[in-house]
């Protein structure tokens, strides 16, 4: 394991400058003392049971056997990644590690629930890979660490070539051994690809935490908890309908455990998932569905139906790198325009985006509140980094969350003895009448409907009216959401850095540094992307230039330019990797230099 660890360190070092700030690294992230938003230095702990400083915590632990797990598990961060060689947990290994046979830690759900666990039969897979190598079993087993190394390389975007060169040199006189090790290294790497293994840590800000009870929470877990909070607070039956897709599936994994709060349904495909959710909302429950870009594309027509029906529905997109299947385990923010415009006809809907794993809880709760109170489908954008990454969460007491007013139909919505399903309130939202309520029988559908009565109508002016009403209904939500504030730097000056989604950590760190250098730079971050907060235009007007860094080819910038007609500069990256702080700082400095 010494060799494995040193290879990883060498490979990491070979990746150069980024080492100090690169977040997607199996390393301890900790805040520099005394700074408000500083981002971590990294400490590398890898593999060996001998390297550990008391109190240090790992982000990733590879436990090749029971003894390794026993001595190291206490140093693995809650929410950290635990890679287990299950072949190292047979009776013999358990005995050596002084575990009771009946107390196998890898079957201890309570223990494992604290981590992201990857259980792999590393010894068996290694033996299988080398069964025709002509090597003896002892020599074969010695190379199993290379499997773990290959797997970790995949998880953390490292290539195997450095280690391959090293092995060729080291075993130049024993080509069989070198070939075997390289084969196992690649086998481990490919195994990661095949099972779509992923792991990530996000760049977290080391803010001074307010008083309270905290825990670490992964973004997907926070989304699941937010959905549970919605069920608890509203008393509505929540149907979560999903179809497996990386990286959104973990939400269903989590919710499937909590059937005491919500009903989960694994549908036959993405379309069935969203339509089942619509069916639940029609029945007076709250339908929730999640997917990732390709799956959202499949749900598109049904989302348009929910817009026309004006029905509460929450759709989560845990974005991944595209286009098409793209890089399922890698992150990107390239579905913003899909969320905004990706439907036939005029189909506006509110779009919210989480800015950290723990923020996912608040965002999904707010999304549910908007969906219900304004009778509209709402899209929530997360991404692979937020979904798999974790951050400290100030645990919220659901009893103290904002109340949600449910606009159920009542007698006021009946005119001349007929229920009017599209009679609108001052928000322009319509009443929610649920099957089972006498006197409220009504039919709705995807055909154009007459305002108030909901009857099918091909009247030209009515169609225009309905399109405008639905647009205005979504715009009106701006009156019910908070304005934005400057999160770092100056409130008026040369450059405003405007971000959204998972880039929050890198952006705030970069702007804080620039501000400390005396640059007139400010930073704000959008959680509400449609409609925008009411004061956004005013905030934009306080700066000479707007810099919009996005992990896509320029999407928010299109909307901002179109809507506010401001001079905005894009900064774009589509490599499946997050921004680093230095990239942002360099860009800010370049813009100011070219002034």
């Amino acid at each position: 394991m010494q060799l494995t660890g040193s290879q990883f360190t060498e490979t990491a070092a070979k990746y150069g400058n980024d080492l100090a700030t690169f977040p997607d690294f199996p390393a301890e992230i900790r805040a520099p003392q005394g700074t408000l938003y500083g981002v971590s230095g990294f400490q590398l702990h890898f593999g060996s049971t001998r390297i550990h400083t008391p109190g240090d915590e790992y982000d990733v632990l590879v436990a090749m056997n029971a003894a390794a797990l026993k001595t190291n598990i206490k140093n693995l961060k809650p929410g950290g990644t635990l890679i287990i060689n299950i072949d190292g947990f047979d009776d013999k290994f358990l005995r050596l590690a002084k575990y009771d046979k009946l107390d196998n830690p890898i079957e201890d759900e309570k223990l494992l629930s604290n981590y992201t666990v990857h259980k792999i039969a590393i010894t068996q897979l290694t033996r299988k890979a080398l069964e025709e190598s002509g090597l003896g079993i002892k020599e074969i087993d010695r190379s199993k660490n290379m499997f773990a190394l290959g797997y970790v390389y995949w998880l953390f975007n490292r290539k195997t070539d450095f280690t391959e060169n090293y092995l060729e040199e080291k075993f130049s006189k024993k080509p069989k051994i070198s070939e075997a090790n390289i084969k196992v290294l690649r086998t481990g790497y490919n195994y990661g690809i095949t099972v779509e293994a992923s792991s990530s840590t996000t760049e977290v800000q080391a803010a001074v935490l307010d008083k309270g009870i905290y825990r670490n929470i992964r973004g997907n877990e926070a989304l699941a908890y937010g959905i549970i909070a919605l069920a608890y607070k509203t008393g509505l039956d929540v149907l979560y309908a999903g179809y497996p897709i990386t990286p959104a599936t973990d939400i269903l994994h989590e919710l499937a455990k909590h059937k005491n709060y919500i009903t989960t349904f694994q549908a036959e495909d993405e379309i069935a998932a969203v339509t089942a959710a619509i069916g639940a909302s029609f029945g007076g429950g709250l339908g929730v569905t999640a997917s990732s870009g390709p799956g959202i594309a499949l749900k598109t027509e049904a989302i348009g139906l929910a817009v026309a029906l004006e029905m509460p529905l929450v759709i989560i997109n845990v974005q991944r790198a595209g286009p098409s299947t793209g890089m399922p385990t890698k992150t990107e923010q390239s579905d913003l325009l899909q969320a905004y415009y990706g439907r036939n006809g005029e189909t506006p809907l509110p779009v919210l985006a989480c800015n950290s794993p723990s923020d996912s809880f608040d965002i999904i709760y707010e999304a549910g509140k908007i969906a219900i109170e304004h009778m509209t489908p709402v899209m929530v954008l997360s991404d692979g980094y937020l979904g798999n990454g974790s951050s400290p969460w100030s645990i919220q007491d659901p009893d103290l969350l904002p109340e949600i007013h449910i606009p159920f139909a009542n007698r006021d919505h009946i005119k001349d003895g007929k229920f009017m399903p599209y009679l609108r309130d001052d928000r322009l939202s319509r009443p929610w009448a649920v099957p089972g309520e006498k006197g409220f029988e009504h039919r709705i559908g995807g055909l154009s409907k007459e305002n108030e009565t909901g009857n099918v109508s091909y009247d030209p002016e009515n169609n225009q009216l309905m399109v405008e009403l639905r647009e205005q209904k979504v715009e009106n939500i701006a009156d019910y959401i908070p304005g934005i504030t400057i999160k770092a730097g100056v409130e008026k000056g040369d450059i405003l850095v405007l971000g959204w989604g998972s880039t929050y950590g890198a952006l705030i760190s970069a702007v804080t540094d620039c501000h400390n250098q005396g640059l007139k730079v400010g930073f704000t971050h959008l959680r509400y992307l449609r409609p925008f907060p009411g004061n956004l235009e005013k905030v934009l007007s306080q700066y000479r230039k707007i810099l919009i860094p996005e992990l896509n080819n320029g999407q928010l910038i299109k909307i901002i330019r179109e809507k506010f007609n401001v001079h905005a500069i894009g900064m774009n990256k589509v490599q499946g990797l997050p921004f680093t702080k230095n990239e942002i700082i360099n860009k800010i400095q370049d813009i100011l230099k070219s002034d």
Binding site: P78, K110, N114, K211, G212, I213, Y214, R215, Y225, A229, L236, D237, L239, A241, H258, K259, N260, Y261, T263, F265, A267, E268, D269, I271, A272, T275, A276, A277, I278, G279, A280, F282, G283, G284, G285, E301, A302, L305, L309, I395, D397, P398, D399, I406, F408, N410, V434, P435, G436, E437, K438, G439, F440, E441, R443, I444, G445, G446, L447, V456
Partner: protein
């Protein structure tokens, strides 16, 4: 389960007999004059009345196509949704609402082509829903393209040289997906259709009713051999549980089963005891019945009508609710704060 029942503004009408007219909405019916859909609508309204189902408890969900306009013409709850998805929408509704009376209205294009996937999964799950599959062997709303049930060689707008797509046999497909109730009716045989609809409604699980429906504009006469007085009796057989398979203009023909091979006989040649006795719960026999018309060996066999197969199997929603109930018993349903907190929390003072 719906927590919103407290907001219900009125009492239910259960126990009050409703004449079928009261199930009609005030909307003008827009099907072509002479369309088979009119009769089906009438029989459905009549069955809802006979079964005395309060209209506020009834939901009709449809997809896209001529048949899918159905919900607009009933004064119940209804949703005219998108192409092929009514079965999936109804599944989601049923998952959280065990109390409602839910019907899905679909057609051969909507249910078997674009919505084929949802239909087979609905059948295997066995949600308690009544699915009315209007089969006219054509796309009517889009004006005459071949459908997944159009016979081989059908010539029309998209099959100028004749179709080469082997058609689906819907009830055979349904059995393959482990349906618990399959039946077949005709648009213009009101008594038979009402009987079948009643049975479908009373069945707990997914009831698939294939209704042969004449599209008099784009595929007129597709089923005339089964519906015309002159040919009907020799070409159809109405199934009755525990009764022998007898048919023919003079009730003089029957079916016998030799092993798994059916054959047509004259009643004068056999004793009644030798005839095939219909058993709705026999899946093997049901499979043979579904193949009466698309198996070349059964050439000239009558088309089975009525209930082909009906068995009990737990519904999806019952099992789902049982699991939810079990989870509540084991984990409680109070404030989820402790769940959120987990075991690894810390306090900042």
């Amino acid at each position: 389960m719906p927590g919103n029942m407290k907001t219900s503004p009125g009492q239910t009408t259960k126990g009050v007999s409703s004449p079928s007219k009261s199930y009609a909405s005030n909307q003008e019916i827009r099907w072509c004059p002479g369309c088979g859909d009119y009769s089906i609508l009438k029989q459905v309204q009549s069955v809802l009345a006979d079964e005395n189902i309060p209209k506020e408890e009834i939901v009709f969900i449809s997809g896209i196509g001529c048949s899918s306009r159905f919900p607009y013409y009933l004064d119940t709850f209804g949703m005219h949704s998108i192409h092929g998805r009514a079965t999936a929408i109804a599944s989601g509704l049923r998952a959280i609402r065990k109390d409602l009376n839910i019907w899905v209205v679909t057609g051969d294009g909507d249910g078997l082509s674009i919505g084929g996937n949802h239909l087979i999964h609905l059948l295997r799950r066995n949600f308690n829903l009544n699915v009315l599959l209007f089969n006219n062997e054509i796309y009517g709303l889009t004006k005459g393209q071949y459908s997944p049930t159009s016979p081989l060689g059908t010539v029309n707008k998209t099959a100028v040289w004749g179709t080469i797509d082997l058609p689906f046999n819907p009830l055979k497909l349904a059995l393959g997906a482990d349906a618990t109730f399959i039946a077949r009716g005709l648009d213009i045989d009101p008594i038979l259709l009402r009987n079948v609809l009643k049975r479908a409604n009373q069945h707990k699980g997914t009831s698939l009713v294939e209704i042969y429906q004449n599209c008099n504009v784009f595929n007129d006469g597709a089923f005339s051999v089964l519906t015309d007085k002159a040919t009907k009796k020799d070409n159809t057989i109405v199934l009755d549980h525990k009764k022998p398979l007898v048919f023919g203009a003079n009730n003089d023909k029957g079916i016998i089963l030799d092993g798994f091979s059916p054959s047509m006989v004259k009643l004068s040649d056999v004793s009644e005891n030798d005839l095939w006795i219909h058993d709705e719960e026999d899946s093997l026999k049901a499979t043979i019945l579904t193949r009466f018309f698309d198996n070349p060996e059964n050439d000239g066999f009558p088309r089975p009508l009525g209930v082909l197969y009906a068995v009990k199997r737990p519904t999806y929603e019952d099992q789902l609710w049982d699991q939810n109930k079990m989870a509540i018993e084991q984990l409680g349903k109070g404030n989820p704060y402790e769940l959120f907190k987990g075991k690894n929390y810390w306090e900042v003072k």
